[in-house]
């Protein structure tokens, strides 16, 4: 895009700057629209599984429901509890939202459509997503109220626990691909399964890793069955209890942007990202972004499906799963996969 702005007569620096800003807007606005739509999809899937209709009043099939909700929260009053720590109370939703958007900078939507094609893309996503715990912890503390505080404590422990195993699972994929660059990881999956299937998932050593990755993603984004941070039957609404209006909406948008990010990460790391599922020439005629979005929405459907069907974990079960099951298994798989790759001469 820099070349395009240069052809308009800009200097290189100015063209680069304009191109970057344009790229950010090109990601952020469709992302916000996508978030609004997946909230609708989430509610519809959930309703269908519960034999209800879900949102069906605003717009055709209720399609505009999320936008109506958005306008509603925008028009409400922002209430700040008098005993709250004002600065941090307002900073927390902003951090959640910013962090949720920042991670999208390195996501390759197709071979060329990536804002920052950096060679530590995957580490960058891990780094940024490890920041999202601060939004929760800060809001919980700054609210100066019991339930948000409990929620913050739970969130801090939960997100650190599952980040550890996500880290090891990601290392397994990186061992196969030999790079942290997300685009190169996708390219390494071309024809991976018997020269036909473009996905890491078909490998018997990587399939269990994907299952654990998916479950860890649920825990990392605090979705059911791991939504202990906002467990409505115990904690009112967890860290969001004292929030209203736009400060609440920012949490909401950030949460769904994070969920979409985790879905897209599933697609990129294990399901061949923007590659078509099968390495067959006519399928490459379809733009890569279509394949990526199809895969992403498939994973989003899985997220909704889980949300509608699975009961919530107890906190000690959550901790046990993270530290006593996922951590040793993923650590073991790092060793086994390194050994396998050395033995087969795949790498090193």
């Amino acid at each position: 895009m820099t070349e395009f702005f240069q052809s308009l007569g800009m200097t290189y620096e100015l063209a680069w700057f304009t191109a970057t800003i344009a790229g950010i807007l090109l990601i952020a606005f469709p992302l916000m629209a996508a978030v609004a739509m997946v909230i609708y999809v989430d509610r519809k899937v959930w309703a269908a599984i519960n034999l209800r209709r879900g949102p069906n009043v605003v717009g055709p099939f209720g399609l505009l429901q999320s936008f109506a909700d958005g306008i509603k929260v925008f028009l409400q009053e922002t209430i700040i509890p008098s005993a709250a720590n004002k600065g941090i109370f307002l900073l927390a939703p902003i951090i959640t939202f910013t962090v949720a958007l920042a991670a999208w900078a390195v996501v390759p939507f197709s071979a060329e459509a990536v804002l920052a094609d950096i060679n530590i893309g995957l580490l960058y996503i891990l780094a940024i997503s490890s920041l999202s715990v601060y939004g929760v912890v800060m809001s919980g503390w700054a609210s100066n109220s019991k339930y948000p505080f409990f929620s913050a404590m739970r969130a801090a422990a939960q997100m650190i626990s599952y980040e550890v195993s996500i880290g090891f699972i990601v290392v397994c994929v990186v061992l196969f691909a030999g790079t942290f660059n997300l685009n190169d990881i996708v390219r390494a999956q071309e024809g991976f399964g018997l020269g036909v299937i473009n996905a890491y998932i078909v490998h018997p050593l990587l399939f269990p890793m994907w299952v654990m990755f998916f479950i860890s993603c649920l825990a990392e984004t605090q979705r059911v069955p791991f939504d202990l941070t906002e467990a409505e039957s115990e904690l009112v609404a967890g860290y969001q209890t004292e929030y209203s209006s736009m400060s609440f909406a920012l949490f909401w948008l950030g949460e769904y942007a994070n969920i979409l990010l985790m879905c897209i990460l599933n697609a990129l790391l294990f399901f061949g990202g923007w590659l078509p599922p099968i390495d067959w020439a006519p399928l490459y005629a379809v733009p890569g972004i279509v394949w990526l979005l199809l895969k992403t929405f498939f994973f989003f459907f899985l997220f909704s499906w889980v949300m509608a069907t699975v009961p919530r974990y107890r906190y000690d079960q959550l901790m046990r799963l993270g530290w006593k099951v996922f951590l040793p298994i993923s650590l073991g798989f790092v060793v086994v996969i390194s050994g396998y790759l050395m033995a087969t001469g795949h790498y090193g």
């Binding site: 620096e13 700057f17 720590n85 941090i88 950096i118 060679n119 530590i120 580490l123 960058y124 891990l126 780094a127 940024i128 490890s130 920041l131 715990v133 601060y134 912890v137 800060m138 503390w141 505080f149 913050a152 404590m153 801090a156 422990a157 997100m159 650190i160 980040e163 880290g167 790079t179 942290f180 107890r314 000690d316 079960q317 046990r320």
Partner: protein
């Protein structure tokens, strides 16, 4: 231009937030300023081309260590007045430590500037060893040249970890309520755990 601006921005923010860490009245605010300092230090790392170190800095320090700091500090009941009272008493000690650090910095940079130091690595900024990705370079150095030092550090960390667990572990009495036996819970099945009763009207149930 942009690089110079970014450097001054990050550097100024690191110093400002480091000052705020010790100036903030509320310990939770101190930790949050510390996190900002870590984050900007990572920004400086990116500017010198060490993006791998920057990512590790954010993942390890900001994402894990500082969260635990915050966790502990939030739950502590700190008496601010008492904390302030020690300031005058510890002031000379603080100045002494600051002077030592300053002297070491001057000495270190002075010796490096003198230019007769043989460090055993190519001098100058970021000379890559393998290819151009510094992830690969760090991997090559760690696992090829300094493998024993690296593993030694790993063993020390492992021992520290086991030590921490041994020190804090306390055995709960068997059968206490806080001791969850997941295996036992999973083995329960509805036929054994529940009994269906159909009592007559006006009669109770014997359990």
């Amino acid at each position: 231009m942009i690089q110079t601006l970014a450097f001054y921005l990050f550097a100024a923010l690191v110093i400002a937030s480091a000052v705020m860490v010790i100036m903030a009245r509320n310990p939770v605010h101190s930790v949050l300023w510390l996190i900002l300092a870590f984050f900007n230090a990572a920004g400086l790392m990116v500017l010198v081309g060490a993006e791998f170190i920057a990512a590790l800095m954010v993942i390890v320090y900001v994402g894990a260590v500082a969260v635990l700091f915050l966790f502990v500090v939030m739950m502590l009941d700190i008496d601010f007045a008492e904390l302030r009272a020690g300031f005058i008493k510890n002031f000379p000690l603080g100045i002494a430590i600051a002077l030592v650090l300053l002297a070491e910095l001057v000495l270190g940079i002075g010796a490096y500037q003198a230019g007769t130091l043989e460090l055993g690595v190519p001098s100058g900024a970021a000379a890559p060893l393998l290819g151009d990705s510094n992830t690969a370079s760090i991997g090559a150095i760690l696992y090829r040249d300094y493998i024993f030092l690296f593993e030694g550090a790993g063993i020390i960390l492992l021992v520290a970890m086991i030590g921490a667990i041994v020190l804090t572990h306390r055995k709960r009495p068997a059968g206490s309520r806080s001791q969850q036996d997941i295996g036992k819970q999973n083995r329960r099945n509805p036929n054994e755990a529940t009994v269906m009763k159909q009592p007559q009207v006006g009669e109770g149930v014997e359990l």
